[in-house]
Symmetry: C2
Subunit: 433 residues, 2 copies
């Protein structure tokens, strides 16, 4: 049974705060182990990768080779269901079209003093993409990470994916090929993160690492952060649905379960002003669970982390949504745009009854890598800017330096940085130089 809250109850604020603060993931203390693995890869390179992969994935890379070859990728593609391949290609094209609009423009201008100022964007040269193995290997996630990197102009996109017991999803390889990944290595865990960050004889280092992973991967990304860039540390996924009496209980139940089936730590929340709808949705969830292959995961997630929150009027949902800052927000209510403009914190908003989140997961074109665990308060989904960086440009001539120099000298002296002041004064033949 999911948590039931009612905003009209006297103890609501307290219970809502507890709900906000509840942890959905045990944060395993894996940092010591991870630091050991990283040090091993730094010291022994490929040799460490081979040993650690034999240990954790039960695969002998000295036989298979670290790198997945072109022939193997082509063979995998031939194994894929043509319908799934066509869907991946449609998804790739739409993701590409959407992300092309995110490409930033350089901005160079001359101000009133004649100072030339500029902002220039360039792609990160080499990027690593972590792809989990086993059941969490999602070809759609390969596209969502790889396509924006290629749109940004990254020249070397390196994928790592563990192959536990030698297993590697053909559709994951197909997605990598379709997305334009340049190199693929069959390694995972902290050792793969270390190889990407520090390089080995076989694997040249990259400058940034993106992609989801388990607790070891997340801890390793935290450790190598600084040496390379990393994306956000993804937590378990969540959906929040705002619905009024016009909502279809079966559709809403299906969407809550689509979230819940991801992971026992996933979270599905319904906020409504209609008690009858809430009851119908809960009933529909139970009914749909009966025929769901991943019912065990979904029912555990719904029971442990699901929530149904009643509000007196639907507008009362708005501040609650902003505090929850959901990764995914669906609005199944009349005049949904009203809520879109009123709500500030959400990774992605799915507007109206005919926009199930799964469309955004796969084929809408927008990115499905979105901020989890309330981080939509301060961060954004993955996009082209995550694969680029800005350089600022500045050019003064003698006149501009004369105009701005005295203020720079005053501030340098005020901060006790006389060499700063001097570097300006010396060019202007001013005292203090």
């Amino acid at each position: 049974m999911p948590l039931r809250l009612d905003a009209r109850d006297a103890d609501f604020n307290e219970r809502f705060r507890a709900f906000l603060g509840a942890k959905r993931e045990a944060s395993a203390d894996v940092e010591t182990a991870v630091r050991g693995i990283i040090a091993d890869v730094q010291a022994r390179g490929d040799e460490a990768l081979i040993a650690l992969t034999a240990k954790f994935d039960r695969v002998d890379l000295s036989t298979f080779g670290l790198r997945v070859g072109d022939a193997e990728i082509d063979a995998a593609m031939a194994l894929c269901d043509p319908e799934a391949l066509a869907a991946l290609k449609l998804a790739r094209d739409r993701i590409e079209a959407y992300h092309l609009r995110q490409k930033p423009k350089d901005d160079c201008f001359t101000d009133a003093l004649g100072v030339e100022l500029g902002t220039r964007w360039t792609a990160i040269e080499a990027v690593g993409l972590y792809v989990p193995g086993g059941t969490a290997a999602y070809p759609s996630s390969v596209l969502m990470n790889a396509v924006p990197a290629k749109v940004a102009g990254c020249e070397r996109l390196v994928m790592v994916v563990p192959t536990p017991d030698g297993k590697l999803s053909p559709l994951v390889l197909a997605a990598a090929k379709i997305a334009g990944v340049d190199e693929i290595y069959r390694i995972g865990g902290a050792q793969a993160v270390a190889a990407l960050a520090y390089g080995t004889k076989t694997i040249k280092p990259v400058a940034k690492i993106v992609g989801p992973g388990n607790a070891y991967v997340a801890a390793a990304k935290r450790v190598v952060f600084g040496q390379v860039g990393i994306d956000m540390i993804a937590g378990p996924s969540e959906v929040l649905i705002i619905a009024d009496k016009t909502g279809n209980p079966d559709w809403i139940a299906a969407d809550l379960l689509a979230q819940a089936e991801h992971d026992v730590s996933a979270q599905s929340i319904l906020i409504t002003d209609d008690a009858a709808l809430a009851a119908s949705v809960e009933k529909a969830v139970e009914s749909q669970l009966k025929t769901l292959p991943r019912a065990s995961t979904a029912s555990q997630s719904w029971r442990d982390f699901g929530a149904v929150i009643m509000v007196g009027k639907l507008d009362d949902a708005i501040p609650l949504v902003d505090r929850l800052a959901p990764e995914h927000l669906e609005i199944a209510a009349e005049d949904p745009e009203r809520f879109v403009s009123a709500i500030r914190n959400a990774g992605a908003i799915f507007i109206g009854a005919h926009t199930p989140e799964a469309i955004g997961d796969y084929v809408a074109g927008s990115n499905h890598v979105l901020p989890t665990a309330r981080s939509a308060r301060f961060s954004s989904g993955l996009g082209v800017l995550d694969f680029m960086k800005r350089t600022s440009l500045l050019k003064c001539g003698p006149d501009q330096l004369r105009a701005l120099g005295p203020a720079a000298i005053a501030l340098g002296k005020a901060e006790g940085l006389d060499a700063h002041a001097r570097s300006v004064a010396i060019r202007l033949n001013l005292p203090g130089s």
Copy 2:
């Protein structure tokens, strides 16, 4: 004596690689202490802040109050040198004008299928700004962090600044006022980071923390990352100057020293194709050190981390610069624009002999918070986007869902996520719903 390298030497590659990998900061292992401090602030709130500030800063906040009041700020402003205040205001206006150009535009469009897609930018509601105390309290840095936050539209900008032995720079308070900071608290260290991240009775929590600090502050930011957003972890500052025979040795020496005076861990590097210039610059550095108030810091930085790198022709500098990815790059050579377009990795580029880096530090308008320690390979200087986040918007009607649905269903099934497939199929009355 700085390191001297010559790209024409047989062992250059090896020595350059060692130079790249050399650490300039002892990374003190302060994490255990920091975790204890954070837990204390989470448990005891204001009481912990008062106790820790008494211990570390020797200030009794139960007398002074945590918050710096308006009267205190006004009194501080009255103490400031009018010339420095005017320079701060000029800097603020120019920083504001520059950063206004960075404000992103929302992008909403309808694609060929009729799918409505959008990207919406909103400001982060509440941001914390860490300002170091003592000698590292730079009013210019207050402006560089605070102005972009205000340009972004952040409603609550909270500054924390330690006041060791009760000392607080009047010009830092003036900069905060000029920049529009909303609240100021006299706390520092890991305890201030914890208070910003988790809140106390007096200090409401923020969603993101920016600003430089010592090893404790950096470690605390790493620990609270996820709970709140953080900016980059800043390392010691660096400048790289590319110069040919047209370079003015005195000016170049002044710029190398302006970097070196920051910190004994700062780094100043000259790359030139002219041996005579290199010798003149080294001589000018020694001469200018004699009259520099911070000569002790600057000479230690220059001796320990400074470098003069000779190249056969100046174009050979380009790949070296990209590997060093300097925070600041000055080009004092003929046709400097040629290097600007060829170089990929640099935080900021200062073009031509009349653009000393100090102009960018203070009054150019561009941001002086820039990626250090080679992180310009993958990250950017501080800007307006750091104080905003993107929400993606998606709206399908029945026709669009019919067009895109089958591909989403195919991918959901291929990934073993049947509830995903069902959430689409159920709206289309398709099998599997």
